[in-house]
Amino acid sequence: MSEQFEPKIVAFVCNWCTYAGADLAGTSRTKYATNVSIIRFPCTGRIDFMLLMKAFENGADGIIVSGCHPNDCHYTSGNFHARRRWMVFRSLLDFMGFDTDRITFSWVSAAEGTKWANLVNDTTEKIREKGAFTEFKNLDYSNFEKINNDAITE
């Protein structure tokens, strides 16, 4: 039986809502996909779009970005700023031809342990179907550099 492709998902979450929600999923012994690595931020407003790009560059196949629901931000308005930033960033990625479906954005509160588990499961399945993210690995140096630099492989 061939091995199933296990996507690597990186989750950028805010400490006060989504991280607590994920914690709740844990204490409730909810089973969910183990493909996700969680990175905890004080607030989604702190998440820089460069971090998402770096995650893909370093091997992530999919990304989850999640925080407090609008009006519930622990710092009052961080998630409002984040929302605008993501709208613009997504638009840029789409314009450049990047597959924006590899990034899932969501609001998960501290009480939504089940929502978190479902989010991770759904995202894992979606990315598994899409396959590994190879677009960055496929890019290589311009044509005659490639010929002259055969040491640049992986």
């Binding site: 929302r83 709208m87 840029l92 031809g97």
Partner: protein, 267 residues
Amino acid sequence: MTPLQNKVAELFDNGTISLMIGFKSTNNKLPVPFFFESTSGVEELIFTPECKGNLAVYLHKPEVKQAKKIGLLANIATLRSLVQLTSENQLSDIEKTVITINTQNEVVVFENMEELEAYVQANFPEYTEEDKKLLEQLNAMTRAERWQYWTDQFSACVKCYACRAVCPMCYCSSCTVECNQPQWIKVSSETTGNLEWHTTRAMHLAGRCINCGECGRICPVGIPVHLLTAQMNLDIEKEFGAKTGFSCTSGYALNTFKPGDKEQFIK
């Protein structure tokens, strides 16, 4: 002397300006930015359609800021840059006199920023036909075709940072590319790293760029980088109603918000 040259000579004579930034001709017929501090330079001053540069960028130069009173020759793009820079509080330490030549070929010296802003709003430019066509073509492509297009373009980028250097809105004294702990933007020029750089540049300029198109015009390898920010500005105007380089008091779309901002993609 042309009316423009006469006017600038007058401004020097009555002490309104101590440094003039304009254009002059050179041997190879491409105009260069021209800086002069007295009427003796006035006869070389020109302002032809070939003078495409956006001179607002020089207002950030330490050597220019040292001058007490700066005169600046401005086309419509430069005027918009000045409006945008004013809304970002970047020009409050500079005493400037801004001069343009209007559509009736008259020399106009703006009394103050209100007058300048009114002129900009009355003459607000559209995207050029060429850019509109390119944006249409790109938006009509499939996502995969766009990816192919942009990665092909970025593979040629040599990281000369001319696009950053020529932009009046890129005035950070310590740019993100200069940070090496950690090295956010790779120094080496290869497609992924180049993509990182152009993404960062587009995001840092989204909602601030005034579409002068200089970055794309001067790119030594011919990448139309101005289209990235042009598309961003169109999207930002559509989503948030914000127009860049339009008002001296408008905020920046990405450091404000409305609780009612709507999107379709957050679960």
